[in-house]
Symmetry: C2
Amino acid sequence: MAAAETARVNERKRVVVLGGGFGGINAALGLAKLPLDITLVDRKNHHTFQPLLYQVALAVLSPAEIAQPIRSILRDHQNIEVLMDEVVGFDVSQQRVELKTGAQLEYDYLIVATGSTHSYFGKDQWARLAPGLKTIEDATEIRRRVLLAFELAEREMQEHGTHPPLNFVVIGGGPTGVELAGAISDIAKLYMAKDFRHIDPGTAKVQILEGSPNILAAYPPDLQKKAAEQLNALGVSIRTNAHVSDVQPGYVMVGDERIDAAVTLWAAGVQASPLGKLLGFPTDRRGCVIVDQFLNPPGHPEIFICGDLAHVEENGKQIPGVAQPAMQMGAYAAKRIGRLVARDFGSDGTGLNQPFHYFDKGDMATIGRKAAIAKIEWPFHAHWSGFPAWITWLVVHIFFLIGFRNRIAVFRQWAWTYLTLSDGARLITGSQELPGWAVPEAPQSVAEEQLDLASPKTN
Amino acid sequence: MAAAETARVNERKRVVVLGGGFGGINAALGLAKLPLDITLVDRKNHHTFQPLLYQVALAVLSPAEIAQPIRSILRDHQNIEVLMDEVVGFDVSQQRVELKTGAQLEYDYLIVATGSTHSYFGKDQWARLAPGLKTIEDATEIRRRVLLAFELAEREMQEHGTHPPLNFVVIGGGPTGVELAGAISDIAKLYMAKDFRHIDPGTAKVQILEGSPNILAAYPPDLQKKAAEQLNALGVSIRTNAHVSDVQPGYVMVGDERIDAAVTLWAAGVQASPLGKLLGFPTDRRGCVIVDQFLNPPGHPEIFICGDLAHVEENGKQIPGVAQPAMQMGAYAAKRIGRLVARDFGSDGTGLNQPFHYFDKGDMATIGRKAAIAKIEWPFHAHWSGFPAWITWLVVHIFFLIGFRNRIAVFRQWAWTYLTLSDGARLITGSQELPGWAVPEAPQSVAEEQLDLASPKTN
């Protein structure tokens, strides 16, 4: 081998990982053992355990219990650096990533795992009126609105003898929508029952509006039915084939029908991270990058797409954008990169013909505090519902939390809140405004003016 | 007694308590045992344990660990209702409180305990540049800025080979300023030491700027000296007789001298809640209502002012605006109201000549994670410093937390973070902007536009 070539071969390769979610973190952890330099980039400083975000949204857990700084997770691996920055462009021929600050990152291998975000089906103005649930900020905003609705109703009742109906509308009947709806009902009927003097939180009505003929489309019909039964038992009503045509402060429109809503939540659509289109490769309707069996886009064996951003098919069906596939794809990409690098170093290329295969262990969704549905595929096939499914969900989710401390802390917090119906994390922080709530205007007082200046209200 | 008079005497009296801090909560708990109807009003839904706010600001504890919904604290008392509302005016002759929503609350007795807020000495435009520490929102904003400064420095170093100096300036050398400064130093030198690859957080410089000749003016000279030594040992520098003449993004001015600051924090002045002036009684220079020995303003034995809002003197010195006096005043007001009501019912007026007396048990402030100063007045007189003072501080503060669950949870969280130097609650939520940080502008990408619409950034 010529000296230059030897030098190139012996130089440490650099892997750039975009995204600190399940895909990116698992990729980084897999790569850490290899003789590589890794740079992980994320717009936020923390990794969020998204499956438990709804627990933050309903004020049972605090943000810090389900999120951890990325630096902490990767702290012990000296060959991994973490950059808090945002990607604004790619130059795949030059193997470079362009960052918002103007800097550029060169890579030998690139893993793009920036996930998905909300889709309002083109009606982006609905975002402010109907928050979704993907980030800590989303969760605390939902928390703020839900808790505020009860506070404002109590106040209205005390001061004016009446209050707008406590109607909560969840648009979307997939797992997120079902979990949110069940949890709102719990909060209202159980946790907050004794807190108010003028309203009965138990009168809160929760309604799921689902556009297709069934909630939980990814689940088999028997589990869909069980879920609907359990939701009804919790006081949650379900409307299927209900297409929301408009979202306004205080109500939504289903066709010509107006449905009043003190709080409206969005769980109806996701689209891929915009980095999908920015990469320049073919994408599907949702913006997911179409990849081959090695998770590579066409013509680029050095680029891997993992998680919600990837369009991967298994047995003719698209792999869903949930946590398990993202984790597995990240681990696979790391392993494959390891094999490619080994081949460059003269190994015989063992395992390079091994494609990505999704190992579906099953899926589950909670319904309130005592029930769930679970579609189990491993270690055996089964459909569970009710309390056994809920216990399984608890165990599985707690143990998949990244980071030992979080597991113990979350379990304890949960156990306490569950057993004692205690107040969890029911803090309202930030503004006391709820779009669409008809509150009579009062003149701004001196008090308000001075306080506005003195206390920053951002959180 | 005439029938009408019997009726009036036998009607349940209504007490309105304004403020859900130490004064208001303790007053409400004291009143709960009496045959009265109590309404507690606060602009927020939660009570905040202010002495531990700096732990949230420095990302060791989460907001929910030091704050609790007021409804929860008072849940078991059926004669107490909680209203989340804001007071905009008083009519003391008619015995009425005017609320922001336009409603009015009538009272037989009124307890005003709305505390204090930041004073920027007239320069309210400094509030945005130098946040203070009085509320959960304040604490998480400080947290955001401090953590962000390290993240941005790491990024600048990685991308451009240099970074602005990590200078943290705390304006004000009282207990709050000292605790913040010591904690920033801890975070930088200990907790985050292994998190970064390009910067050494230990190079962060923390400086206290105090306008008077000494820090910790309320403490005796020997403890002031110990505190200064301990701060210096932590790498915190102290400038006394330093009057800040201007606060700008990225620096402050002391006279003609410019001091660069990545993050500037305000711990220099408080003023009474604006309700003090709104009441219409004589106030002192800071807006505190001047009260007599029964905590009543002139001519109104049915109105009590408690906590930071009250100007009360004991042995010729004004009682400081800290937690202990507020709690004691609240309890006293409740007891006195009980005696007044009993007298109306025909009792002989026992105890009505008993004035408020502040029982000073002492004061303490932490300095970093291993040291503190403690001025102990009960059960004996002593000046402690170093580790023994710190342990005392720990025990006292944990056990004064309102609410059993919080005590255990906070202790555990603390113990873990302390012993393992773990990541605590180091989440950056909300925007990634830091006023004054010179970041090169990049054109807004499609990515950014879509994400701005889809994800609300409030928290």
